[in-house]
Amino acid sequence: MKRNNIAIFDYGAGNLFSLKAALERNGAESVSILRKLNDLGGFTGVVLPGVGNFDPAIRSVEPFKESLLQAMEDAINGGVPMLGICLGMEMLFNKSEEGTLDGLKILDGEVVMLSKKVKIPHMGWNNLSITNSDSKLLRGVSNGSWVYFVHSYFVKPTDKNIVAANSVYGSVIPALVEDGNLFGTQFHPEKSGAVGGIMIKNFLKECTQCS
């Protein structure tokens, strides 16, 4: 099997150490934390982490936007897998109520604030309701599994077919989107105990299998 070299992008906004540790615990041979994204050659997978705020994060990828968008297109078409976690997933969409800047617009849809009926942020363990039984990330994950969420906004994809799992908090919230090898989780797999570990292993497996 191919050696797994994973890149984590650093928006300069927080905890990447535990994500790196989670990837290493689950079998990644090397994990690099990058401040620049212009050269992704040599990496078998890319992770956009989930700590920070929408506008600063978008600003931080602005200088590498072209190569990042190309890498995302490739991922959708079965190329090197990418995983956006929480904010890293929200950035894939057109825009967010958290900020004023445009999102990366690689997935169509908007990011909106959670229902005012419930406490915000949605912080804690919630159940997954799996809607796509063929999901690559959810192989071996049971319906109803608990995963850890920390977020105030959620994505509303135009194409509902990319949603692989939902959760309920104030309303139905897409918890996992999957389009080819482009994955986005609203929850934090690296913080979701053993269940999260299964998903990270699944992601790493996809990383070793594509060219």
Partner: protein
């Protein structure tokens, strides 16, 4: 709502060792943080909180090595507090592997720190710890509850220094400044093992829309059931019942579940 109530073991850390104090004083040693973290994770803890309890008093840096060693072995979220005075302190702790930072004294001294942390790291990273003590008299009656004989005062520097600030008003303020969560400790209840301060917890939960963690006073699983049944609190923190193995996280959760509380098991 299916969101599980969280059970959070707390590790008060002093010089890299877990300690447990009574009423914020008379600290005694209880063990190694990494061992505790691993044990609690395997028992099913939903989250961990590390508080460097003497950091504010002595200006001590929170032990980054402890944080990163813990982050290597656990796959559940954890919060680190103590000694965070400025943005750079928070960033260093987050980079060492913490998911959230908890600020207490620094937030009171400089409330704008909450907003600054929120705008850079996101609301979800910012926990404001409120140490509250019941006071009778000594202050004008609270405007909204003027029939009450007591009020809750925010204390800082590890519970030693009064501020004259009403805890309920402070909770509302930290929410509006950008706190993502409140870690509420009753100084009166802390270390007594007689149960959480239900009145305090209820007052704060009713005042804000962000999650609240109840802390101080847990001596047995029944106390967690009480605080979940009687208040809208999201999480219950405990230290001694887990440290001294009077109970385990797993047993607490089984007990709560059998009493109708939604928990992750």
């Amino acid at each position: 709502m299916p969101l599980a109530k969280r059970i959070i073991p707390c590790l008060d850390v002093d010089n890299g060792r877990v300690v447990k104090g009574v009423h914020f004083e008379e600290v005694k040693e209880a063990g190694d943080p990494v061992e505790f973290a691993q044990k609690y994770k395997s028992q099913g803890a939903d989250e961990l909180i590390f508080l460097d309890i003497t950091a504010s008093q002595q200006g001590r840096e929170t032990m980054r090595n402890v944080v990163s060693n813990v982050a290597k072995v656990i796959d559940i979220p954890f919060t680190v507090g103590g000694g965070i005075r400025m943005l750079e302190d928070a960033r260093e702790i987050l980079l060492s592997g913490a998911d959230k930072v908890s600020i207490n004294t620094a937030a009171v001294k400089n409330p704008e720190l909450i907003r600054d942390l929120m705008s850079i790291f996101g609301r979800q990273c910012v926990v404001v710890a409120i140490d509250a003590k019941k006071n009778v008299g000594g202050r004008e009656a609270r405007s909204e509850n003027s029939d009450q004989e007591y009020w809750f005062e925010v204390k800082i520097f590890g519970g030693k220094t009064g501020t004259g600030i009403d805890a309920i008003e402070w909770a509302r303020k930290v929410e509006s400044l950008g706190a993502g969560e409140i870690l509420l400790t009753s100084i009166d209840a802390d270390g007594t093992e007689n149960g959480y301060d239900i009145n305090l917890t209820k007052s704060i939960c009713d005042a804000v829309r962000i999650p609240v963690i109840a802390s101080g006073g847990c001596g047995e699983p029944k106390h967690m059931l009480e605080v979940f049944k009687q208040t809208d609190v999201d999480a219950a923190l405990a230290a001694s019942i887990f440290h001294y193995e009077k109970s385990s996280v797993g047993r607490v959760k089984d007990y709560l579940k059998s009493n109708g509380i939604e928990v992750r098991v």
